[in-house]
Structure formats: structure tokens, C-alpha cells
Amino acid sequence: MTMTSPIVEVRSVSKIYPLASGDVVALDDISLTIEDGEFVAIMGPSGSGKSTLMNQLGCLDVPTKGRLLIAGTDVRTLNDHDLTRLRLSTLGYIFQRYNLIPLLTAYENVEYPYILKNRKQDDTGRVWQLLESVGITRKMARHKPAELSGGQQQRVAIARALVNEPRILICDEPTGNLDTKTGLQIMNMLTDLNKKGNTIIMVTHNPETAGYADRTVVIRDGRIVV
């Protein structure tokens, strides 16, 4: 145990999907601790349960058994409203498919979680600052996601993930849809963010990408192998 309490604590967590043909155990009694400021990569073949684990860590889903503490809160005790609130304020998401809201401009996409949290539009210039820091110009920011390249969309997504100053960044294959060069830029951006103190949990099947992390957790058949 370290002096500070860990930001993520997974204790004997199982996720079981009941099916007519029999229960599917996606996560089988997993335990894992992630310290504040760590950069952890989660690897594993498809079907290994790494996506399921990510969904639990990202509070998009709750475990069937065990204790999952995110920033000290046991997510199994939260109702949907509080879980949603946790996703809004404590977690930031970066997806493989960028997942920007197609109807909003790049700027509005970044501002959206800010409005949800603060119930007002951004008048501090934070959104512009973030966009600038990920290399999105004001001209680009006025475009809809479909009018931007993949790399640009992922930069906007990073800015969006950061807008509410989350304690944990959840990255699901952040470079999966990008070319090598752009992927490299994105990874450098994430490394910088980690150096500034952000905790990053990243799912990937690419060992090279995983190499950026401090630590790699390998999952197979719902269990942690390494």
C-alpha cells in the first residue's frame, strides 16, 4: 500500500452475462490497483474481456460481483444518475472511433460536457485553450466532425475528454483508426498529459502503443495473466 489511496481499486470483480444457453463469465474474479498519475495499458486478444473491463473502469457498466472503487467511490452503490454524474466529472473518454457528436461543431463538442457540468456556456476561454493545446485552429473548430480528418477528430475528442478536468482518462484503442504518423502524435499528446499528472488507462492490442504506458496488464479469458 502506498501512502495515498489508489485512484482505481478493482477487488475480486466479476462480470457475468446471463444468457439462455448459460451464463457467460466475461470477467472472472479480477483484482487490480491503479495509482493516481499512472499510465496503464490493458492488452489482450479479442474476446479476452478487456473491453468489458474497460466498460467497468469507465463506469459505463457495473460489475456483477466484487468491489470497484473509482476515486474512492464504490460504483456498485451508485444509481444511474450518480454513475452518469461520475462519468461527467471524474472520467474523460477517448474512443477508437472518436465518437464526437455529429450535429455539433468541434467547438461545441468540447463545450458540451462543460455545459452539462456547469449548466452554462464557457465564458472562461477554456474550450479555446484546450482546442489550441491539441492543435485545433479556430477555423477548424467551427466545422462539424464529418468535415475534419481522423487525426483532427481525435484531437477534438482529447480536448473534450479534458474539459471537465477528469481524474482519469479512459482511452479505448485511441490510435486504432489512425495512420502511424498521426497515431504517434496522439500518443505523444497522451504521454504529455500523463507527465502533467493525468491518470491514463488505455486499452490496445498494439504492443507498440502499449509501450508508452508505465505498466501493461494482460487479460486472457477474463483473468489477468500479467
Binding site: N55, G58, L60, D61, D80, H81, T84, R85, R87, L88, S89, Y93, F95, N99, L100, I101, P102, L103, L104, E108, Y112, P113, I115, L116, K117, R119, K120, Q121, R160, N164
Partner: protein, 405 residues
């Protein structure tokens, strides 16, 4: 809070705009439904207003006719032609009626008989002959051309009869078949057209003579075909009717009383039945519109599953997602309904002008109220039908939704 709502509203507006054609088509459905409901409602209200205005002018008339068994009633004055020898109102009954009803208005008895007439060039026709007291005649009928009967063989005739038979003041008519007793009379005046009678007799197509002339020709003095009561106050009708029935129909029914205020209400209620029927047909068009809105909203939800997943995963609450889709349905509903109201105003006016031909009452509250009613119904239907799709969107599992293409 207001600005916060704004971003969800912005999303809804953009979604409507993105699927412009689809949104317009379903709004059009609502528009048509609103027009149908409002225009029908206005048509009904105007019809009722026009008819009841016509009715009120004659609602003060009560007609007492001999009881013939079975359903009495019939329009006032219409009993004239059907009077037969064995059913009449006696002088004694008339006196009773007069005693009771005279303090409420004018009471007069009349004779009537349907008979064959011969006009110019012995052209045969048929008309109702009325016999009226000379003074009564002056008070209940108006001569448009000529004078009231001045000498014994004088009659006045209705405008329509005069027009049809091409008769004029001074023309001669023969009444009755040759050989069965016939008299020759002179037209001294032509009556003003009365339309639906307010005097208790339908003189437009009739011949009116003095009671003396009538009884000298047909006999049966003191055997009246009907007694008419012109009430000073319409509200007295029930009271008069009750009093008359208590007095005259004490042992057995000898008279029947038809009162046109009842008829007016019957006509009004049958109009409203008809209007309800038309409106229920109009409601079907709104139902079709509702199905279309439902379909559009379900499509919008299905197409945006992935987006819903994103919204939920980055921290949008269920009720906020729901609100977004309800906004969308409301926007479509509002656009459709506003267009519907504007068009209803025009369509309603045209329909009323064409079908009723009288737009006096179009701007009256009971007619114009159908515009806000139509609008409220249109918007409500959109919101109600949008609720389920919105609820489905809100309750989607974020993980599943994110996985969707």
C-alpha cells in the same frame, strides 16, 4: 438552466434540420390533421350560430293543434293541411287557451284547409287556405303589395304563390272544384315573404282570407285547425305549455302543443351530432399523423443510437436524452400545428363562406376558438407520440448503444 436546456434544444433543432424532408412530411401530416379538426369545428360552430339565429326569430311561436294520436309536433303552421273534420279545436277549448295564454302574448285561432285552386286561364293548382280574424291578420301578417282584404271576396296571398302562378293584385282565383262548391275571390294584396314562419302559419304558399269568408265557404264555424300563441318572452314557453296541458289534457289528450324553441334545440343538437361525426373523421386524419410522427421519432432514435451512446457515456443524464427527443417531437408538432392553424383560418373561412354562405359568425369566439384547440391537439399529439421513442432512447444501455453502427 435556461442556457443548459439550450444545448439539448440546439441538438433537437439540428436533428430536425438534418432530416428536413422527413420532418416536413410528418409536420405536414399534423398540419392536415389540425386543419381538418379546426375547419370542421369552425364549420359546425358557424352552422349552429346561423341556424340558431334563424330559429330564435321564430322560437316564440307555440302552436296548439288537435290531438291526433301518436307523435304530435311537426313544424308550426304545418298542421293546417292535415286537419280533418273530426279533429279540430272547439270554441270552448280556444276560450280556455285564450284565458291561459293571452297574458303571455298574442293568441289567435285559425282555420285552414287544403284545396284545389284555379288561377289565370283556369290553371289548376293546390294551396292551403287560411281563415283568420281580420284584426289578427293585420297584426301577424304584413302586406308587401296592395292592401288587406277590404270587401267580402278579397284575399291576400303569399309571395311565393303569387310568383309561381304569376298572380298580381287584382287577379282573380277560383277556389274549390267546379260542381263541389267553388268561390271566386279577388287578390287584394300580396304578403311579404316570411321564410320560416314567425307568425305560426306558412303563408308564403297560401291564401289567407277572413274567417267569415272561410266559414261561409267551408262551414265549421268555431272548429279551428290550430291556435297560435306568439309569446312575448320565449322563456315562458314551458310555463304556458304546462298550464295548457294541465287544463285541456286533464282527462285525455285533446290537444298537442308544438313549440318551436324545442324544435330549435332539436335542430341545433342534430347539427352538433353531424359536426361531431365530421370531427371524428377529422380525428382519424390526426391519428394517421400521430402514427407518422411516431414512426419518424422511432427512426430518429434508431438512427442515432450511436449518438445516444456517446451522449450517455460522456455524462448526459437519462432525462436529458429524453428531453432532447421530446423537444424534437415538439418542434415538428409546433411547426405542423402553426402551419395548420394559419391554413385552418383560410380554409375554415372559405368552407364557411361556401357551405353556409354567411361569415357573420366566423370571428365569434365559439368559432375562432377551434384554432387554439386545433393547435393544442396537434402539439399534444406530437409530444405524446414522441414520449415512447424518447423513453426508449433514454433507457438504452450506453455500452450497447456505443457498439451500434
Amino acid at each position: 438552466m435556461k442556457l443548459f436546456n439550450d444545448i439539448l434544444f440546439t441538438l433537437s433543432v439540428r436533428s430536425v434540420r438534418l432530416n428536413m424532408l422527413r420532418s416536413i412530411l410528418s409536420a405536414l401530416g399534423i398540419t392536415i390533421g389540425v386543419i381538418a379538426i379546426s375547419a370542421m369545428g369552425m364549420l359546425g360552430a358557424n352552422m349552429t350560430s346561423v341556424v340558431s339565429a334563424q330559429m330564435t326569430s321564430m322560437a316564440n311561436t307555440m302552436t296548439v293543434s288537435p290531438y291526433t294520436g301518436g307523435g304530435g309536433g311537426g313544424p308550426p303552421g304545418g298542421m293546417g293541411g292535415s286537419s280533418s273534420d273530426d279533429s279540430y279545436i272547439t270554441q270552448k277549448q280556444y276560450d280556455d287557451i285564450y284565458q291561459i295564454a293571452s297574458k303571455y302574448g298574442t293568441v289567435y285561432a285559425l282555420y285552414s284547409e287544403s284545396d284545389t285552386i284555379y288561377t289565370k286561364n283556369d290553371q289548376e293548382g293546390r294551396a292551403t287556405i287560411y281563415g283568420l280574424d281580420a284584426d289578427t291578420m293585420k297584426s301577424v301578417l304584413t302586406v308587401a303589395n296592395g292592401t288587406y282584404p277590404r270587401s267580402e271576396g278579397d284575399v291576400v296571398i303569399g309571395a311565393e304563390l303569387a310568383d309561381r302562378q304569376d298572380l298580381d293584385v287584382g287577379s282573380k282565383i277560383k277556389i274549390g272544384k267546379e260542381g263541389e262548391g267553388q268561390i271566386k275571390v279577388r287578390i287584394s294584396g300580396i304578403l311579404e315573404e316570411t321564410g320560416i314562419s314567425s307568425s305560426g302559419l306558412r303563408a308564403d304558399n297560401g291564401i289567407v282570407m277572413t274567417d267569415d269568408l272561410f266559414t261561409s265557404f267551408y262551414g265549421g264555424e268555431g272548429e279551428y285547425s290550430q291556435v297560435t300563441i306568439l309569446l312575448n318572452n320565449v322563456n315562458d314557453s314551458t310555463e304556458v305549455k304546462t298550464a295548457l296541458e294541465a287544463k285541456l289534457n286533464k282527462r285525455e289528450d285533446v290537444i298537442s302543443i308544438s313549440d318551436s324553441s324545442r324544435m330549435a334545440s332539436t335542430v341545433t343538437s342534430s347539427i352538433s351530432t353531424m359536426v361531431s361525426f365530421m370531427q371524428s373523421i377529422a380525428a382519424i386524419s390526426l391519428l394517421v399523423a400521430a402514427v407518422s410522427i411516431f414512426n419518424v421519432m422511432m427512426m430518429s432514435v434508431t438512427e442515432r443510437i450511436n449518438e445516444i451512446g456517446i451522449l450517455r457515456s460522456i455524462g448526459t443524464q437519462k432525462d436529458e436524452v429524453m428531453k432532447m427527443f421530446v423537444y424534437e417531437a415538439s418542434i415538428i408538432g409546433l411547426i405542423g400545428s402553426v402551419a395548420g392553424v394559419v391554413l385552418s383560418f383560410i380554409v375554415g373561412y372559405l368552407v364557411v363562406a361556401m357551405l353556409i354562405g354567411d361569415t357573420t359568425y366566423f370571428f365569434a369566439w365559439n368559432s375562432i376558438v377551434y384554432l387554439p384547440i386545433g393547435m393544442v391537439i396537434g402539439v399534444s399529439i406530437c409530444i405524446v407520440t414522441g414520449l415512447y421513442p424518447a423513453w426508449r432512447a433514454a433507457n438504452m444501455d450506453p455500452v450497447e448503444a456505443l457498439r451500434a453502427d
